[in-house]
């Protein structure tokens, strides 16, 4: 019986496949990541036990900061384009293409209509310094918020799926919220969504029991 020498296998592993997987995942995450446009204000929302998701599209979002300044934002660049064109022609704002593009590609805006031109000509950082970010006026004598909502609805083609979301800070004074709710009420919009963080229902409460009784969705 001659000895059969088993050739010793090298311990080196071929890393090529691993590398492929890594880069595949990398490209996926790179493409799937959407960087949020910078919001002009940071808002800490209260938490609630609701589990309904905030939809990605067909949303009109009002952001309200601690000081009660109201900012408006909407999804969809083509819709935003239509909206700013309408606003421009209706209120004779005299916006040029660059300013319009700033609105179309930008995030939330919050200023008087009369200052909109100078506001949109600035970059996001310059806006903060300019003192123009006073928020959209909501008082009953000069309720520009209602025109914003009106034009946004028109730009959204009265989409039945359209949702009106309110994202306000914990410390926002209630009268400001009430003013906004009343504005919506005047517009005959009765279904709103308040953006909140998730918290678990307290143990033993009716909602918790109902959740346990039902299979988790």
């Amino acid at each position: 019986m001659p000895k059969v020498k088993m050739p010793r296998k090298s311990t080196l592993v071929d890393m090529t496949a691993m590398c492929d997987v890594a880069f595949l995942l990398l490209t996926f995450f790179m493409l799937a990541t959407k960087f949020k446009p910078d919001e002009p204000v940071t808002v800490v929302t209260p938490s609630s036990i609701n589990t309904q998701l905030l939809p990605d599209s067909d949303v009109i979002l009002l952001t309200i900061d601690k000081g009660g300044r109201v900012f408006f934002s909407m999804d969809g660049q083509s819709k935003r384009k239509k909206m700013i064109e309408d606003l421009n022609s209706q209120f004779k704002l005299g916006l040029d293409t660059k300013e319009m593009n700033n609105f179309i590609l930008g995030a939330s805006v919050g200023t008087d209509l009369k200052d909109l031109k100078s506001y949109l000509s600035l970059s996001a950082e310059a806006r903060k310094k300019s003192g123009l970010e006073k928020g959209i006026p909501t008082d009953s004598s000069n309720n520009e918020l209602s025109s914003w909502i009106e034009y946004a609805r028109a730009a959204q083609d009265n989409n039945p799926k359209l949702k009106y979301c309110i994202k306000a800070d914990n410390g926002t004074p209630y009268p400001v919220i009430k003013q906004i709710l009343d504005t919506f009420k005047d517009k005959k919009i009765q279904k709103l969504n308040l953006v909140t963080n998730l918290e678990t229902p307290p143990v033993g409460s009716a909602a918790a029991l109902a959740q346990e009784g039902k299979p988790a969705k």
Binding site: D14, M15, T16, M18, C19, A22, F23, L25, L26, F29, M30, A32, T33, T45, P46, S47, S48, I49, N50, T51, Q52, L53, L54, D56, I64, K163, C165, K167, A168, D169, N170, G171, T172, P173, Y174, P175, V176, I177, K178, L181, F184, K185, K188, Q190, K191, L192, N193, L194, V195, T196, N197, L198, P201, P202, S205, A206, A207, A208, A210
Partner: protein, 195 residues
């Protein structure tokens, strides 16, 4: 890859017929993989998969609200008022009876605490009302009237709506605060020393 032989063989080498070693074309991929996974983890951590949640708020029409208001019975109603400093005030009924408030225990203060806070008040009232029977012999439903004072914050407002969801109160309405309510809140604040 692109390496030059810098060993000083000084011309003697070519006579010795030493073959230069052929370098392997295999590249060590390990650092490359490391980099790949580093980037993956970065993108994985920065990608937010969880989205903010929303709470539904349905506002009744003004005209409807008047009728609703009239349909609410004193016995099934609980009025909750939101004041400053996260204080909550409540009384049973709608305070339409001016004599009701003569009772010193009528108007009470509490807070959003998990224990002995407004939640227990709501549960107690809900269960008490569930014992009642209406004209048809069906159990009554509690109706919660929410009134927020001007000093209340949005957080209080969401918290109280959340309490409605937590305790599964079907019927509730947000109503404008009356001057009478404001006066009671002021009196209670001074009595309790809430600045």
């Amino acid at each position: 890859m692109a390496e030059m032989d810098t060993s000083s063989s000084g011309g003697k080498g070519k006579h010795q017929g030493t073959k230069s070693k052929k370098l392997s074309t295999r590249v060590d991929m390990t650092p490359m993989v490391d980099l790949g996974f580093l980037l993956i983890t970065f993108f994985m951590l920065t990608t937010t998969m969880s989205k903010p949640k929303t709470m539904d708020l349905v506002m009744p029409k003004d005209t409807e609200r008047e009728e609703e208001q009239n349909k609410v019975k004193e016995s099934t109603a609980l009025t909750i008022l939101l004041g400053k400093k996260d204080q909550v005030y409540y009384y049973e009924g709608l305070a339409q009876d001016p004599n009701a408030s003569a009772n010193p225990d009528f108007f009470k203060a509490t807070n959003f605490a998990n224990k002995n806070g407004i939640r227990d008040v709501i549960i107690k009232k809900r269960d008490a009302v569930a014992q009642m029977r209406n004209a048809k012999g069906e159990p009554e439903d509690v109706v919660v009237i929410i009134k927020a004072d001007n000093d209340a914050t949005y957080k209080n407002f969401v918290d109280i709506l959340d309490e409605m969801a937590i305790n599964r109160i079907q019927r509730y309405a947000t109503v404008d605060i009356s001057d009478q309510d404001k006066q009671w809140i002021k009196q209670t604040e001074t009595a309790n020393g809430v600045q």
